[in-house]
């Protein structure tokens, strides 16, 4: 259960990025969560409002985009293709590079600057 510290990191990143708009209200925060990032999305959604308390991000909605595991293959032309494990979904080669699905990324925020 490390989702509260993850949520706190997200809030810090949002605060850093809204410095030019000190009076703005954060409507929503979009976060991309890889299916292999070790994050439980329900727990993160639960923790997010707690991490927002007493910060300018309070009241923001957390929008999660789940990113599947994707790989590129060194032994066939497959690029950036969804897979269930660390092998090529087409030729089954183990020589693959992960291109998505392992990270958590704060993608964007929507601000009300009224």
């Amino acid at each position: 259960m490390h989702e509260l510290s993850i949520a706190t990191n997200i809030v810090e990143i949002v605060e850093e990025n809204m410095r030019s708009y000190p009076k703005a209200q954060v409507i929503s925060v979009t976060v991309q969560v890889g299916t292999h990032s070790g994050i439980e999305t329900e727990a993160l959604t639960f923790c997010f409002p707690l991490a927002c308390e007493d910060t300018p991000v309070k009241g923001a909605k957390l929008k999660l985009e789940v990113i599947p595991l994707k790989v590129s293959c060194s032994d066939c032309p497959v690029r950036d293709k969804e897979t269930q494990n660390l092998s090529c979904p087409v030729c089954q080669s183990p020589n693959v590079t992960v291109t998505a699905g392992k990270d958590m990324i704060v993608a964007s925020i929507d601000l009300d600057i009224d």
């Binding site: 259960m1 490390h2 510290s5 993850i6 990191n9 997200i10 990143i13 949002v14 990025n17 809204m18 708009y21 409507i27 976060v31 299916t35 292999h36 990032s37 070790g38 994050i39 439980e40 595991l69 269930q84 494990n85 660390l86 092998s87 183990p94 992960v98 392992k102 990270d103 958590m104 990324i105 704060v106 993608a107 964007s108 925020i109 929507d110 601000l111 009300d112 600057i113 009224d114």
Partner: protein, 242 residues
């Protein structure tokens, strides 16, 4: 005809659902960020990686469930190595210095991090703890993470190898239940094989399941109790700590 068009326009303009969709957009802006949530941790992990490279240290991050036998694996390995490889250990636990004491009893220096409530180590904690070790005289540095198979996979600690430790008692389908732990690691150590006859587990099936998730896993099948497989693991450490 003209009245009908005006009427339609008025109806559209004052339709409550249209007002709701138009109104919030007036003062709303979207800022693209694209910042990794763990970028601060990753930055410190990169410092650690650079430090290890400079000092010629091979870093290994041991992850596994509580009680999977991480400390016992290290104890047996250090006894086998008998001082042939300069090792050191950063121990991570929620509470107590028990594991540090166990490691030090084998003659290997260790430093303990007590996370208090956190279920994983982060790069900042590891970086701070390194100042307590003699890195100039270390070739192989283990970071024994807090017992946990989920949270520990998210945090880069600057290691070269992430080693997943799983005991036979945890069941042969563990890799299928925790795939993200297996896609994050390079090395698998199966432990407590002496218990296999009592816990109804097929070790080959366990290995096969792990390899189905990550075919490149380097696998060791060990028992700290009988010493089986410890030599192979120790030889691997000698090979990667040049």
């Amino acid at each position: 005809m003209g009245r009908r068009i005006v009427g339609f326009f008025l109806k559209f303009a004052f339709e409550p659902s249209n007002l709701r969709t138009l109104e919030p957009n007036i003062h709303m802006i979207n800022i693209e960020i694209k910042n990794k949530v763990l970028s601060k941790n990753d930055e410190i992990a990169e410092h650690i990686r650079t430090l290890f490279r400079k000092k010629g240290i091979t870093g290994l991050n041991l992850i596994g469930s509580p009680g999977s036998g991480k400390t016992a694996l290290l104890e047996a390995t250090f006894k086998h190595l008998n001082g042939k490889l300069a090792c050191a250990v950063v121990e991570g636990d929620v509470k107590t210095e028990n594991d540090k004491i166990r490691i030090e009893a084998t003659g290997v220096p260790a430093v303990q991090i007590e996370t208090e409530s956190s279920c994983h180590l982060n790069a900042e904690q590891v970086e701070k703890s390194l100042s307590e070790l003699d890195l100039d005289n270390t070739k192989c540095l283990f970071i024994e993470n807090v017992g946990n198979l989920i949270c520990t996979t998210s945090y880069d600690l600057g290691e070269k190898y992430k080693v997943i430790v799983i005991s036979v008692a945890e069941g042969q389908d563990k890799p299928l239940k925790y795939p993200s732990a297996f896609t994050s690691t390079n090395v698998l150590v199966i432990t407590k094989t002496d218990l296999a006859p009592y816990v109804d587990v097929d070790i080959e099936k366990l290995k096969e399941n792990a390899l189905s998730i990550n075919p490149k896993l380097r696998t060791f099948i060990t028992s700290a109790k009988t010493g089986d497989g410890i030599e192979e693991f120790a030889n691997f450490l000698m090979d990667v700590s040049q």
